[in-house]
């Protein structure tokens, strides 16, 4: 078990990691989710022991490991770039951590073959990395991390440079393979989808702070604040500033009934968050808020269309299935379903989440 207690990291005057506390269980999958420069890599470097936190302590199985050099920590790390020893064969690359540790040849042989089998590298054991495809190079790096039997396995956006198909394959296999070793498994990514597919627990990061750390599904369905909700939504969550007056939320000339479960809220300013796929172009049954919008851009991928809309200064994105024929500049109505509202108070803390969790 790895525990971080009030970890901060300052470089010069810049605060890279700010007061992070989290505890990661053995054999668990932990996702660090956040945009570029949010501190994912910095946090991993602290966990690995490549950097020393400015303040706070790091406990591995109960004992403080701050200051312990990285090579004594039994950590494995895989990077976004494909990092292998260029002049060694795949076999020697996978064997290298065991060679350093002085493991006997028979064991090395057995474990290299096991790992190569899991990572589908058996036919390529005699090649050097330069003669492998990107996916094979990264699988070599992953196999090297696997044979180490490390207590802590850190994967820093390992699939970012791979093609779509390989990513899907590895994304499913990786957590299983590493969970079996009983390691604390940490996976950094910029993609909300990847976090959802990996499952386990997710920590959302923003500007060096962990905004929430919980079961992945719970973070997705009940983000503790607006920042977390925006980090964990791609395309970004639509946010509409509204005023609660009596029994209604009001935005300019549009209005909608306040959901019954939050009818006790005080009047004042709130923010409503709606995920792009709950922004509709046809009026739904039940309560909804109608906005008069102008189409500003459309992105059509084939199975899905993103329609960017402007409504009195608010910028919104609607995700529709299929190809929709709308022209830039068209004036069309859009509907926000009342039951899909994330409601945030003026401190941007979550007040209420949608009531149909399981359908998400």
């Amino acid at each position: 078990m790895l525990e971080l207690k009030n970890i901060s990291k300052k470089v010069g005057n810049a605060l890279h990691i700010s007061d992070v506390s989290m505890s990661l269980e053995k054999g668990s999958v932990n996702v660090l989710l956040g945009p570029t420069l949010s501190g994912k890599t910095s946090l991993m470097r602290l966990m690995a022991g490549l950097d020393r936190p400015t303040s706070g302590s790091i406990l591995m199985n109960g004992s403080n490991v701050v200051g312990m050099p990285v090579q004594k920590r039994n950590v494995a790390m895989v990077y976004q770039q494909f990092i292998n020893y260029p002049a060694m064969t795949v076999y020697e690359n996978i064997a290298s951590p065991m060679r350093v540790a002085g493991v006997d040849q028979a064991t090395i042989d057995r474990r290299v073959n096991e790992a190569a089998d899991l990572m589908k590298l058996t036919p390529y054991l005699d090649r050097t990395p330069a003669n492998l495809s990107g996916g094979q190079q990264q699988r070599t790096a992953l196999a090297r991390a696997l044979v180490k039997n490390a207590e802590l396995v850190l994967l820093d956006e390992p699939l970012a440079n791979l093609d779509y198909k390989l990513r899907e394959e590895l994304r499913v296999e990786l957590p299983k393979i590493f969970a079996e070793t009983g390691a604390v498994f940490v996976y950094a990514t910029t993609e909300p989808q990847e976090a959802l597919l990996l499952g386990g627990k997710t920590a959302t990061l923003c500007e060096g702070r962990v905004t929430q750390f919980d079961r992945t599904i719970d973070v997705y369905n009940h983000p503790s604040d607006l920042l977390t909700a925006q980090t964990f939504s791609d395309p970004p969550m639509n946010v509409l500033p509204v005023t609660k007056v009596g029994n209604e939320f009001v935005f300019e000339t549009s209005r909608v009934d306040v959901p019954t479960n939050v009818s006790g809220l005080a009047d004042g300013n709130y923010k409503i968050g709606v995920r792009p796929h709950h922004m509709l172009l046809e009026e739904p049954k039940g309560h909804s808020m109608k906005l008069d919008c102008v189409v500003s851009t459309t992105e059509i991928t084939g199975s899905e269309s993103f329609i960017h809309l402007q409504s009195r200064g608010a910028h919104m994105v609607a995700l529709m299935h299929g190809v929709h024929r709308v022209e830039i500049g068209d004036a069309i109505p859009a509907y926000l379903e009342q039951k899909s509202f994330f409601i945030f108070d003026h401190h941007e803390n979550l007040v209420s989440a949608p009531t149909f969790d399981s359908q998400n």
Binding site: R45, V70, K72, Q81, P86, T128, S133
Partner: protein, 295 residues
């Protein structure tokens, strides 16, 4: 399908052809022409066949000079390559000292050959040179004009001083292009400093190292100015390298035929040695191309 045939296209290659002809083909063919003929002045030439080539290849003078060239190149490479790598490894990768180091390293490269020769020629003189005088005062009997070992040592020192920087700069460029993640990965693996050098840095700078090796070989094999300025090829014939010998024959004795034959042989040697080096070095540690994958 009928392709339109247009002879005007030839005009487009004429400029390049003219340039190459003027800069390479015509001069080389002139030399080839001389190498098969004999002259007694008055611009009269007589066919000599392969006589000059036979003369050159059977003369001790040629083989001695060739031996000196190879010995010099081997010494130069075995000093400058390891030294260059070593200096490049100790240079800072970032910070304010980077430009300082780079400029200091580049300085010797900006000095012309004959100036380097003159600097060291004076520097080493026992009467007025700082180095020569100091050594003399320390009781070392140093004299490049009369002692073969001293002459060689001085020329080698000059070349090392002048050209190690080139190796340093090339290696440094190769080293700074290695992503930081490699070093981190090695650190996590617990690799030693030597392993990092042997398994990450050396393979990663192999490309630039081949270039440094070839450049330094060709340059050192064509050594001329330094021994010419220092002792004019002496003491005796001890620093008469091929290029010096060539100039002595062509200009000093005006034996155009033998000189032309010798320069052709000289050029062929440089070319073939470079070809062998390049082939060998670019194949070291690389899998055979038929083992490549296509995915």
């Amino acid at each position: 399908m009928d392709k339109p045939y247009n002879n005007k296209a030839w005009f487009l290659v004429v400029p390049v052809f003219a340039l190459v002809a003027l800069s390479a083909i015509i001069p080389i063919m002139t030399v080839v022409n001389y190498s098969f003929q004999d002259t007694f002045g008055n611009n009269q030439f007589f066919w000599a066949g392969t006589e000059w080539f036979q003369d050159v290849l059977s003369s001790d003078r040629f083989w001695d000079a060739l031996g000196r060239n190879f010995m010099f190149s081997v010494i130069i490479l075995s000093i400058e390559i390891p030294l260059g790598i070593g200096i490049a490894l100790t240079m800072p990768k970032k910070g304010i000292w980077v430009p300082v180091c780079l400029v200091t390293m580049a300085l010797p490269l900006l000095i012309p050959w004959n100036v380097v020769g003159t600097i060291w020629q004076i520097f080493g003189r026992a009467d007025i040179g700082l180095l020569g005088y100091s050594l003399d005062q320390l009781g070392v009997n140093y004299n490049y004009a009369s002692n073969i070992f001293d002459a060689w040592a001085t020329i080698i020192l000059m070349d090392v001083w002048h050209w190690t920087s080139l190796v340093v700069l090339l290696c440094y460029a190769g080293l700074v292009s290695i992503p930081e993640a490699y070093y981190q990965a090695a650190k996590i693996d617990g690799a030693s400093r030597w392993s990092v050098f042997r398994y990450i840095q050396l393979p990663k700078i192999r490309g630039v190292l081949i270039i440094a090796f070839l450049l330094r070989f060709m340059d050192s094999f064509m050594i001329y100015t330094e021994p010419f300025v220092l002792t004019g090829g002496g003491p005796g014939n001890s620093t008469t390298f091929m290029s010096i010998d060539l100039v002595k024959q062509a200009i000093g004795q005006f034996d155009l035929g033998p000189a032309a034959a010798m320069s052709l042989v000289y050029q062929l040697i440089v070319l073939s040695v470079c070809y062998v080096f390049f082939t060998v070095m670019s194949n070291v540690g690389v899998d055979k191309p038929d083992a490549r994958v296509e995915d």
